[in-house]
Structures are given as C-alpha cells and as structure tokens.
C-alpha cells in the first residue's frame, strides 16, 4: 500500500505539473552595425505615402518606423521622430501634386462604390472626402516643435533634391519647391535634406532615392520633349543622378554611420502601369464594330466583336493613330469615364500622357539599369559599411507571389494585397514586406539578427 501511495502521488505530481516546453527568449544581436540612432532618407515610399496621399496612419507605419521598432531590439534608443501631419489633415491626407497649386490638396483614396457615366456601379477607389481647400495648416513649418526628424522621406523628390536648399523655397519661379520638405526643414531656404540628416547624429541610415528620376517621366506617359532634364516629367540626366547619389552616400558615410541603400524597381512590376489591359476595348454589338472599321478604314485597322486593342495617339504612326501593342502600357491615371462613355481609346485615340510606347519603355528600362548599376557600384566601394537592398529584384519576385505566414501577396491592383489604391505605393502590408527586405539584407551584411516584422498584422486593403 505504501508503494502504491508513492506511485499515485508521483503520478498526480506529474499530471498537475503539465509544464509547457517553452523556448528561452531569443537574444538579438547587432552585428557590426550600430542602430542607436537611425535616419531614413528617400521619397514618398519612405514617407509612408499611400492611397494617393500622405496621411497620419501611413506615416506612423511607414517602413522606417517599422524598422525603428525592430532596431529597438538591437540597441536603438527608441527615439524616432516623424513629421506627422496633424489631426485636421489626418481626415484624408495631402497630395499637393494632384493639382498645380500646392495650397490645394486632395484626400486619400478608399475603396467604395461608384456609379459610372454608363450607369454601372463598381467597387473602385474613391476619394475619402472632399478636397482640402480650406485647411493649409500642414504647410506650417514644424521643425521647432517636433524636430529634428528621423524620417526624412519627402514625397516627390528626385536624387538632386537631397542637397538642394531651394526645395523649401516657395517662389513662383522655383520648380524645385516641395511643401513636404518646407514644412519640416530645419532652416527653410538654407537647410537641405542631407544636412538635416546629420541633426539626429545617425549611426545607421537607409537611403532609397532615384525612383522619381525615372518614374516622373514614366507616370506622365513619357510626354517629356527632351531626352533628359530637371523637370518632374523628365528623366534625370545620368551624370546629375550619379553625382547626386555619390554625394549623398559620401556625406552620410562621413557621419560615421553605416547604411542600406535601395535601388529602383522596374515599372512593369508596378500595378499602376500593368492593371489596364491593352485590349480592354470590349465591343459587344456588331454596330460598334462596323462604325470603328469605317472610321479607321484608311489606316487598315480592323476591329471585331470581343476584346480589341485600344486606339492610341502616336505621332510616328501614319495618321497619328494606331492600335496599342500587347507589350505596351496604359497608365492607371487614364480617366475611366472617358473610356466608358466618351469613346477614348476607340473613336478618339488615347492621348500620349496616358500610355507608354515600346520606345519609351525601352528608354525607361535602360535608364533604370544604368541608375541601378551606379547604385551597385557605390555600395561595392564600401562593402563593410553599405548594404544593397535590391528592390528591383524584390518587386520582380512579387509578381510570382510572396507567401507570408499563409497569406499570398501579389502586385495585382486591389486583390493582390500588397499595393495601395493609387497603384504605385504599397499599402502597409506591402511596406512591411519592404521592411523585411531591408532586415534580411542588413542581417546578411552586418551579421545582426534583427527579427522580421509580422506583415499580416498591418491593415491591408479595407473593403466596405
């Protein structure tokens, strides 16, 4: 009986002591880099721009903010300042480039129902609210009260704006004025973005610049009359680009910081360029086919029932019009109402600014390669101080789908889950995937063990 009592009590002890086989808390290490103070430089992708606007929620979860939170596990001080818009502007957001007047802004897009001119209601991006014509408080400079800033992402800048004090100068003749920098500059008209980066005494930086040097041209449909120039619609001259990048990298390294540098994605991997099918002209009635065949008879363009290639304006084509080719691209900015009800793409050709022809695409591709080659060579000069984040390859991989913890992400507009409603900027989950790209490369280059970000916990596309 005595032995039975022992056995029973031991068994109860074991049964009650159903301890969980937990793992020890992991220790993350910083490798050869120092993440104490982190500064991020870049354009709208770095600022957290999404859904066609800069708004507070996007800023709070911009990828540099995500990185800063991860860096806290490897020594970051926890001080990360973003030039947040205030609550009034948080209603929608700001996008001064939506009109030529920086004082007139528009709001962000959300997914909602809209009835088109053809009476068809679809689920489509719609403005969250009316344009913000009254409240321009966002233009007030906030450096004194909220700076210095760790997120120096400025929507709309090209490579040569990083070291240019004119960026904060509001003047009718200054085409380099950018209200996003003007509101956070440490000394408007005298300070530069690169100069402001030094104010946080950075030990680590990320630099992702140059996309607009080619995207400005691409998103405006390649209408620039020059082969290279300094306007938004131009491609930056290659020497200007190289000088600007080299200068930026040198100045940032001179602070003693190490960093990660991102390169430029291909436009064919971005839904803004690939969502509208070249043959979206759907003719359902024979009468429509007959009218178009007659209209273009002299040019020999033949239509049929079903899907047809759109008609586009091409000054090099006979008659100035032709059908778009399968490999050519139509931009997401094309006004849907014109296509649906006013014959754009059929009875009237699609204007130059809404599409890219093969030559324009070749130019963009070659320039992207040249720019990226320069970025790679810069990084290769400092193998122990700089890491290259190959976003060109990453966005290409995204087209095949990336699965994160059971959820699949693709670049498809709206349904793919990785891009926001403007078709160019990622949504927060897309930015989280980008943050993980930085982390993977930083870990590989500097030997750190920074943990990944949980992509799925950020908001995705919100459906009504």
């Amino acid at each position: 009986m005595y032995k039975l009592r022992i056995i029973v009590s031991i068994s109860i002890l074991f049964a009650v002591n159903s301890c969980t086989p937990s793992f020890d808390d992991p220790r993350y290490n910083t490798g050869t880099a120092d993440f104490t103070s982190y500064v991020a430089l870049g354009n709208s992708f770095t600022a957290g721009f999404a859904d066609a606007a800069l708004y507070v929620e996007g800023q709070e979860n911009a990828y540099p903010a995500m990185l800063a939170r991860q860096f806290m596990m490897v020594g970051n001080s926890g001080e990360f300042h973003t030039p947040l818009l205030d609550a009034a502007n948080a209603i929608g957001g700001v996008n001064p480039s939506a009109s030529t007047d920086p004082l007139q802004t528009t709001t962000k897009f959300i997914l909602g129902y809209a009835t088109g001119c053809d009476g068809v209601t679809t689920l489509t991006p719609v403005p969250y609210g009316p344009p913000n014509t009254q409240n321009n408080s966002y233009l007030q400079n906030i450096f004194a009260s909220m700076g210095p800033f760790n997120n120096l992402g400025v929507p709309g800048i090209k490579s040569f704006h990083l070291d240019n004090p004119d960026v904060a100068l509001l003047s009718p003749t200054n085409k380099n004025y950018n209200p996003f920098y003007a509101r956070m500059a440490s000394d408007p008209q005298f300070s530069t973005i690169l100069g402001d980066a030094q104010l946080v005494n950075p030990t680590f930086f990320t630099l992702w610049i140059g996309s607009n040097d080619v995207l400005g041209y691409a998103t405006s449909g390649g209408i620039s009359p020059v082969s290279a120039g300094m306007n938004w619609v131009d491609i930056s001259p290659i020497d200007t680009f190289k000088l600007a990048l080299t200068n930026a990298v040198n100045k940032l390294l001179a602070t003693g910081a190490k960093g990660a540098v991102g390169n430029i994605p291909d436009i064919t991997d971005i839904p803004f360029f690939t969502s509208i099918p070249y043959n979206g002209l759907n003719l359902t009635r024979q009468g429509q086919v007959d009218t178009l065949n007659n209209l273009y008879a002299s040019l020999g363009i033949i239509f049929h029932l079903g899907q047809n290639a759109y008609v586009v304006a091409d000054s090099f084509a006979p008659g100035g019009v032709r059908q778009i080719q399968a490999a050519e691209l139509i931009l997401l900015t094309i006004p849907q109402e014109e296509i649906r009800c006013n014959g754009m793409g059929s009875t009237t050709p699609i204007p130059d600014k809404y599409w890219l022809d093969q030559d324009e695409m070749d130019l963009i591709r070659n320039i992207t390669i040249a720019f990226n080659n320069h970025i790679s060579s810069l990084v290769n000069n400092y193998p122990d101080k700089l890491a290259l984040v190959n976003f060109n390859a990453y966005f290409n991989n995204l087209t095949a789908g990336i699965i994160f913890n059971g959820v699949t992400y693709t670049p498809e507009f709206i349904s793919g889950g990785a891009f926001s409603l403007d078709g160019i900027h990622p949504n927060q989950r897309g930015y989280a995937l980008i943050a993980n790209q930085y982390i993977a490369v930083i870990n590989a280059t500097f030997g750190s063990t920074i943990p990944q970000v949980d992509v799925n916990k950020f908001p995705g596309i919100v459906f009504p």
């Binding site: 039975l4 056995i7 031991i10 074991f14 159903s18 937990s22 992991p26 919100v462």
Partner: protein
C-alpha cells in the same frame, strides 16, 4: 532510449501517440508498459491490440477506463520569440468486454484511437493557417475470436468509426471595423474498417502476436462552414454559411509483439508497429455550392514505425508495478510541418501500477510522458517557419472485472 524518465501514464489518446494523430493509450496495463501489448494478450484491451488472444485467455472480462491527456506545445517564431499553444486537455475513454463460449469468444470494444487538438490563440501570427483544430474519433468493434489450438488463437473484428472534426482559422480580408474574418468548419463523418490478429503461445513463458488494424476512411458529408466578419462587398465570395465535404484518411497499423515471463514476478514485452500513414496524402475540402472555396492541401505523410519495450514486476501478490519506454517516428516530412499538428519523433516513458482489489476486480493506473524532439521547419505551402517543441503527459485509470 535517451529518456530514463518513467511516467505512470502511457496513454495518449488524443495527441498523436503512434505518430501523426494516432492515440495509443487504449488500456492502462498496456500503457504502463510503453504500449507493448500485441504479444501479451492477458486482458480485455486485446480486443483492440490483438483480437487473436481473446480465445486463449482464461476468463471472460470487462475492462473500462479513461485517460487524462495534456499536450503542451511551444513555438519559437522568428518574429515574436516564444509562443505557447493554449492549454487543452482531452479525456478519451475505452470499454472492452469479451465472453467465452467454448472455443469461441465474442467481444466488443469502443474506444477513441485517433484524435488531436491544437489551439494557438485568435490573434497569433499563424492565425491565417490555424487558430483551433480538434479531431475526435469513436470506434465500435464487435469482435470474434477462435481458439484454433491450445496454443494458437485467431480473431477479427468489424470496425465502425465516426469522427468529428472542427477547424477554425482567420480569413485575410479587412473590413472597416473588422481587421480579419473568421472561418469555422465543423463536420461529422463515418467509415468502416476491420481489426484482425493472431496470437501464439510459444511456450509456458513466451507468447507472440501479430495484428493488423485496417485503414479507415472517414467520409465527412454536409459539414458546416461558417464565415463571419466578412465585409459586405465580399459576401458573395465568403457566404455566411456553406456545406462542405471532406475525407479524413486514418491509417492502418501492422503490429508484431513478443512477451516473455522470466519468473513468476517479471514479465517483459517488446512491440513493433508499422503505421501506414502514406494514405494521408492531402487534405481537401469541397464546397458543392461554392466551388470557388474548394481547397487542396498537400500533407504527404510517410509510413512510420514505433518500437516499444515494457516490463511488469509483481511487487506483492496484489500489486504489480509497470514501466516502459517507446520510440515513435513521426510521419510528417520536412516542409510539411504545420502548427495544426506540430509532430516530431518522440521518446516515450511510462509507469504503471495494478492492484488486485478482489479476486475478480482489479484497478490500474498509468502515467506516460511523451517528449517530442525539437523540430525546425519551413512549410512549403504557407511559408510559415519556426521551431516547435512539445510534450504530452497522460494520466490513466481503469478497472478490470473477470468472470
């Protein structure tokens, strides 16, 4: 075996005993001895372990009991560090009886040979893969055994099986007030199989057995799938409720066992099992009214072996002490490990005790500790990666009545 820990419980009904989600705690005497029961043939649990031995046993017998199973799992995530699975406990039971009529014996068994359950919390990082899963099975087996000679017995039983499966996971759609949706699948199924065995009395001391429990295909028809938290613009893709069909393939087990009575105090037994898990190739769901929701998911299990060694020592005339060890291979291949069933090769340690209350009535206790090897994997389909570590403890109690 590396583990020298002797647990009193050797029953682990619900949480993958013989690899995968087989439960090998089907009798306390067997449990106490590492589950090495095929060649012993001394109690009514042979209805399950080896029906051939029933006709060679001396007396008719009824036996019943249940086990208290506590699986505990932890996951080391590259994002969030250590995550503990929620604590769930199970109580599978068994009831066996057989009646001797001359050379024939008729018997009946009801038990829960397969089951599993995992719950990881609603908001954890794997919520789009699984939040909660439960599988219960119930087998009923009418059995016949025939004494061919005084040394050879044969037996067979027909198996009718029912099962209940429940799966809950998050749906990656975000609404204005719902960060993600929920999907719940709930279904009952049934299937058939058989259980056959041969038992040999090799000598006064040695006995051996061979048994084969067939595979059972549980057909789940008209299961209930409900989707909630779905934004109204997507309600046509994810209806509030839909019927589904699925099939759960439960494997066969081929066992061979040996038992040797050294003296009137000590008996040792050895068992090998080969479980045909390769039949569990994929898990598919079919939605007859919503084919867009149909899904196929590879599982690609492989056949798995287990080896068991147990001993029973008569401490006093009334009190037996038991101990056993076992090694159980996991049928889950690398690349297929998933938090629904974080399986791994396991080492098992058991303890048991039996007490003769009266001449006819006895009671048994058993305790089993299963230790799963730490296992790291990246799942091919979901890209979910991390390390898993699990243990299961089982406490069992049963009574035996001979007549």
């Amino acid at each position: 075996m590396r583990k020298i820990l002797f647990t009193l419980f050797s029953f682990l009904p619900l949480f993958s005993l013989a690899g995968g989600f087989q439960i090998n705690t089907q009798g306390e005497k067997a449990n106490g001895m590492g589950g090495s029961a095929t060649g012993i043939g001394k109690d009514a649990s042979s209805v399950y372990f080896n029906p051939g031995s029933l006709s060679l046993q001396e007396k008719s017998c009824i036996m019943g009991g249940f086990n208290f199973v506590s699986p505990r799992a932890s996951f080391l995530s590259p994002i969030n560090g250590n995550v503990d699975a929620e604590k769930v406990n199970f109580t599978p039971f068994y009831l066996y009886g057989f009646y001797k009529i001359n050379r024939f014996t008729i018997g009946l068994g009801v038990n829960n040979p397969y089951g599993m359950g995992s719950s990881w919390g609603d908001d954890w990082e794997g919520k789009y893969i699984i939040q909660e899963i439960k599988l219960n099975t119930f087998y009923i087996q009418p059995t016949v055994s025939y004494k061919i000679t005084d040394r050879i017995g044969v037996g067979a039983g027909f198996v009718y099986a029912t099962g209940h499966a429940f799966v809950r996971k998050a749906v990656p759609v975000t609404g204005v007030s719902t960060p993600y949706g929920e999907a719940e699948l709930d279904g009952n199924g049934h299937g058939f199989g058989f259980n056959a065995g041969l038992f040999f009395k090799l000598s006064e001391q040695a006995t051996a057995g061979l048994s084969y429990r067939s595979r059972v295909k549980l057909n789940v028809k008209d299961g209930d799938a409900t989707f909630s938290g779905i934004p109204s613009s997507l309600s046509s893709e994810f209806p509030a409720s839909a019927g589904f069909n699925t099939e759960i393939n439960l494997p066969s087990t081929l066992s061979v066992g040996l038992a040797y009575q050294f003296n009137d105090k000590l008996m040792v037994a050895l068992d090998f099992n080969l479980t045909g898990w390769a039949v569990y190739d994929s898990l598919n769901f079919e939605f007859p009214d919503h084919p867009d929701l149909d899904s196929r998911s590879g599982r690609n299990y492989k056949n798995a072996i287990a080896a068991r060694l147990g001993g029973q020592y008569k401490i006093t005339k009334k009190l037996d002490f038991r101990a056993g060890i076992a090694f159980d291979e996991s049928p889950v291949r690398d690349g297929y490990l998933s938090p629904e069933l974080p399986d791994a090769n396991k080492s098992i340690l058991t303890f048991g005790a039996g007490y003769q209350i009266t001449e006819s009535l006895s009671a048994d206790l058993s305790f089993m500790l299963e230790n799963f090897a730490e296992r790291k994997d990246v799942n091919y389909e979901t890209n979910f990666s991390g390390k898993y570590k699990s243990t299961v403890t089982v406490f069992g109690i049963g009574v035996n009545y001979v007549f």
